[in-house]
C-alpha cells in the first residue's frame, strides 16, 4: 500500500483541546463530590436541607440577639415576641463566668495578667524550635509568678518555694555523677528540707511586697477550669513518665506498685476520685489540718491524669524497637542516661497524640468539679446564673458560651499537636 492510497495521514500534532465543560472547574468538582451517583445526590440534597433548616433557625436568633439588658424579662420586652438570643446574660455576667462570683472585682487584673503571661510562658515550650531557649527561664519562673498573682499574699511564699526548687536542682546536679537515682532522691529531699525550714525563715518577710490574698474558695468560673487543666497536666506529665518507666521496670516491687496504682485509677470514674477529695481525703490527713479544696482536687485530678498519661507513654515505650534499648546498652550508657538520651525522646515523640488526647480529656473533665459544689464555669451557670431571678430561663446563650470556650481551647490544642507531629517527623515520606 503506497502512501498516496491512504485517504488521510496527519502530518503534525494537534494542539491540546480544552476538556469538556463537564470535566473542568466547579462543575467537575460538583459532579465528583456531590452528585456522583443517585444515592450521593440524595445524600447531598438531604444534608443541604438539614443545613438550610439549621441556618434558617439559628440566623434570626443571632441577628436579633440582645446584647445589652439587665434581665431576661427586659430582654424579652425589647425583643417584643421576635425570635432572638438574650446574649445580654453574657455581657452582664461576663466576670462571673470567667472569675466566679466571689473573686474581688478590683483584683480581676491579676488572674487576667496571669492568663496573658501563661501564653508567654508556654510559647517557648510549644515553639521550641523557633524561640530562643533562654525564654525557658521564664517558663520555669511562671508557676511561682502565677501563684503569687492569683492567690496573692506575701511574695516570700513563692520566692522561698522557688529557692527550694533551686536547692533541689543544685543538689541533683552535684550528685548526678554518682548515680541518677540517688541524685533525684537527694535533690527531692533537699528541696523538702528547705521548704520545711523556710516555714520559719520567711516569717520576717511576710509584710514585704504583699498583695491582697484571695482564698481558694473565692475563685470560680472558667478560671478554675484553666487553672486545674494547666496545673494538673503539667504535674501529671513527669509523674506519668515515672509511672510508665516504673511499670516497665525489671524491679518487681516497683513494677507492681505502679501497676496497681495505674489500674486502680484507670478503673474508677473521676467523679469517685473527686468524692474522695471532697469527703474522704480529710480522714487520711493529720487531725486539724485544713487542706484547701482546690489543692485536694488538684491532687486527685493529677493522680487521675498521670495514670492515663503513664499508659500512653508505656505504649510509646513498647512501640520502640528492642534494638534501641540494646543499642543504648551497648554504648555503655547506664539506665538514666539511656532513658534520657535514647529512649524517652523517641517514646515521647510517638506518644504526643495520646498525651494531647489525655490533656484535652482532662481539661474537659475539669467541669466535673461542679458536681462537688465548686463553682467552675458549669457550676456558675447552673448555680448563680440560672438560679438568679434575672436570668432564670436563659439556657442556650450560657451553655453555648461554655461550649464555645471549651471548643476553642480543645480544638486549638489538638490542632497544635497535629502541627507538632509534622514538625517532629523525621522519617522521609
Amino acid at each position: 500500500m503506497s502512501r498516496e492510497q491512504l485517504s488521510f495521514v496527519r502530518s503534525h500534532m494537534l494542539p491540546e483541546a480544552p476538556p469538556p465543560t463537564a470535566e473542568t472547574g466547579a462543575i467537575k468538582w460538583l459532579r465528583e463530590n456531590l452528585f456522583s451517583s443517585p444515592a450521593n445526590t440524595l445524600l447531598t440534597l438531604v444534608s443541604a436541607y438539614v443545613i438550610f433548616k439549621i441556618v434558617m433557625g439559628a440566623a434570626p436568633w443571632f441577628i436579633n440577639g440582645i446584647w445589652d439588658s439587665p434581665s431576661l424579662t427586659a430582654c424579652r420586652e425589647i425583643l417584643g415576641g421576635k425570635v432572638g438570643g438574650c446574649f445580654a446574660v453574657l455581657t452582664e455576667r461576663w466576670n462571673q463566668l470567667l472569675f466566679g462570683f466571689k473573686y474581688p472585682p478590683e483584683l480581676y487584673w491579676r488572674p487576667t495578667l496571669a492568663f496573658v503571661l501563661l501564653f508567654v510562658a508556654v510559647a517557648p515550650v510549644l515553639f521550641i524550635k523557633y524561640l530562643p531557649r533562654k525564654l525557658l527561664v521564664f517558663t520555669g519562673l511562671y508557676p511561682f509568678i502565677a501563684f503569687w498573682l492569683i492567690w496573692g499574699g506575701p511574695i516570700a511564699t513563692p520566692v522561698f518555694a522557688l529557692l527550694g526548687v533551686l536547692v533541689g536542682i543544685f543538689v541533683y546536679f552535684r550528685l548526678l555523677r554518682t548515680s541518677a537515682g540517688v541524685a533525684v532522691i537527694a535533690g527531692f529531699l533537699a528541696a523538702l528540707v528547705f521548704w520545711i525550714l523556710s516555714g520559719y525563715l520567711k516569717a520576717p518577710f511576710d509584710g514585704f511586697l504583699a498583695m491582697e490574698a484571695v482564698a481558694s474558695r473565692d475563685m470560680g468560673g472558667f478560671m478554675i477550669n484553666l487553672m486545674l487543666g494547666v496545673v494538673c497536666v503539667s504535674l501529671s506529665l513527669p509523674i506519668g513518665i515515672l509511672l510508665a518507666l516504673g511499670r516497665q521496670s525489671s524491679m518487681p516491687i516497683i513494677k507492681w506498685i505502679c501497676v496497681v496504682f495505674i489500674e486502680f485509677i484507670r478503673g474508677v470514674p473521676l467523679i469517685t476520685l473527686l468524692f474522695v477529695a471532697n469527703v474522704v481525703l480529710a480522714y487520711f490527713l493529720p487531725p486539724g489540718t485544713n487542706f484547701d479544696l482546690i489543692l485536694r482536687v488538684i491532687i486527685m485530678i493529677t493522680m487521675f491524669s498521670s495514670a492515663y498519661i503513664a499508659e500512653v507513654i508505656r505504649g510509646g515505650l513498647a512501640a520502640l524497637p528492642r534494638g534501641q534499648y540494646e543499642a543504648a546498652d551497648s554504648l555503655g550508657l547506664d539506665y538514666a542516661q539511656s532513658m534520657q538520651l535514647i529512649i524517652l525522646p523517641q517514646a515521647l515523640k510517638i506518644s504526643i497524640p495520646g498525651i494531647v488526647n489525655v490533656a484535652v480529656g482532662l481539661f474537659k473533665d475539669t467541669t466535673l468539679v461542679s458536681v462537688i459544689s465548686m463553682f467552675d464555669i458549669v457550676g456558675m451557670i447552673r448555680g448563680p446564673i440560672l438560679a438568679s431571678p434575672e436570668w432564670n430561663g436563659v439556657y442556650w446563650e450560657v451553655f453555648g458560651f461554655a461550649c464555645v470556650l471549651f471548643f476553642i481551647t480543645c480544638y486549638g490544642i489538638s490542632q497544635y499537636s497535629q502541627w507538632l507531629e509534622r514538625q517532629l517527623q523525621t522519617d522521609h515520606r
Partner: protein
Amino acid sequence: MTTMTDPPRASFQLSSLIYDTRYRSYTFQFIALVLLMLLIGYLGMNLIQNLASQGQDISYRFLGEPSNYDINQRPIEYDSRSTHLRASIVGVLNTLIVAFLGCITATLFGVTAGILRLSPNWLVRKLMAIYVEAFRNVPVLIWILIIFTIMTAVMPAPNQFRGEDASASMLFDSFAFTNRGVYTPAPIWGPGSLVVVLVFLASIFGVFYYRHYATKLLYDTGRLLPMGWPSLVILFVPTILIYFIMGRPISLDYPELRGFNFGGGLHIRGSLIALWFALAIYTGAFIAENVRAGIQAVSRGQTEAAASLGLRPRRIMNLVILPQALRVIIPPLISQYLNLTKNSSLAIAVGYMDVTGTLGGITLNQTGRAIESVLLLMLFYLTISLSISAVMNVYNNSIKLKER
C-alpha cells in the same frame, strides 16, 4: 581478649548497695517498699485518730438499715423502707441500663458517622467532621445538661396535649414527648407470649446456624448459598406465624392522657434520656474516629488484591476489609464502652439515680459513711473495668497476628 568478660567477684561491701548494679536494684526496691509502708502507716494512723476523735468506726451495718428515700426509676421492687443495700443494687441496675442503652446507641452513631466521614460526598464528609469535632471538644457534662434542658424546659407540659386546640400532639398517637419524660407504648405480655419469644430466640440461633452451615459448605465444596434473604426469612417468618397461631398474645399498651399526666405505656424519664443520648452522641464521636482510623488502616493494596482475585465489592468488604479493620477497631471500641460506663456516673448532675446517685449520693449524705460508700462505689466500677479489660486481653490474644 577474654580477660574482661567476667567482672571480678568482689566480696560484698556496704557501698556496693549503691554502686554495684547487681545489688542496686535491691536497694531501690527496699527504699520504695519502706516509703510505701511509711505512707500507708501514716495514712492509717491519721485515719484511726480522725475516726476516734469523731467517735466513728468503719462498719458496713448501714447497708442493712432502711434507706428512707425514694428512687424514681426502679427496675426491681424498691420502696423507701428497703435497705441501703437494695438502694445500691437499684443504682447498679440503673447504671447498667444506661450503660447498655448508651453503648448500643453510641455504636450506631459512631459507625454511621465513621463510615460517612469516608464518603465520596464532600458535604456529608464535612457535616460528619463537624459532628465529630463539636462533640469531641466539648465536655460531656455540658452535653448532658444541654439535652436535659431540652427535655425539661423545651418539651411541652402534659396539659398542653389536652383539649381541642392542643399546642402539642403525640407522634403517631403513641409517643408523647413531654417535659416529664417520654411516654412510649409498652408491650403487654399475654398468655402464650413466652412461646413467641422462645421461637424468636430460636430463630436467632437458626440464623447463626444457617450462616455457619453456608460458610462450611462454601469452604468444603465451593457451593455458594445466598445469605441475605434466607436469614431474614428464618428470623421473622416463624415468629410471625406463631404470633398469629397463638392468637396474638402480645399487645401494646398505649400511653394516654389521664388527669394531669399521661398514664399507661412506658415512661422514660428525662434524666435517663438526657444521660443516654448525651453519652451516646459524645462517645459516638470518638467511636466514629476509631472506625475511620480502622478502615483507613487497611491498605489500598488489600482492596486491589481482592479485586484482582475476582471478588465482588460486597465480598471484598465482608471478607477482606472488615475482618482486618475490625481487628483495629474493636479494642478502642471496647475502651470507649468502658469510658461510657464510667462517664455514666455523671448521672448525679441530672438526678438520674444510678449507683453514684444512690450509694455515692443520698446514702452517703444520709449515713455520713463516706469512706465505706466511696470504697464500695470504687470497687463496683473497678470490678466492671477489670472484667472488661480481662475480656479484652483474651480477645486481643485471640486476634493477634501469628507471626514467626
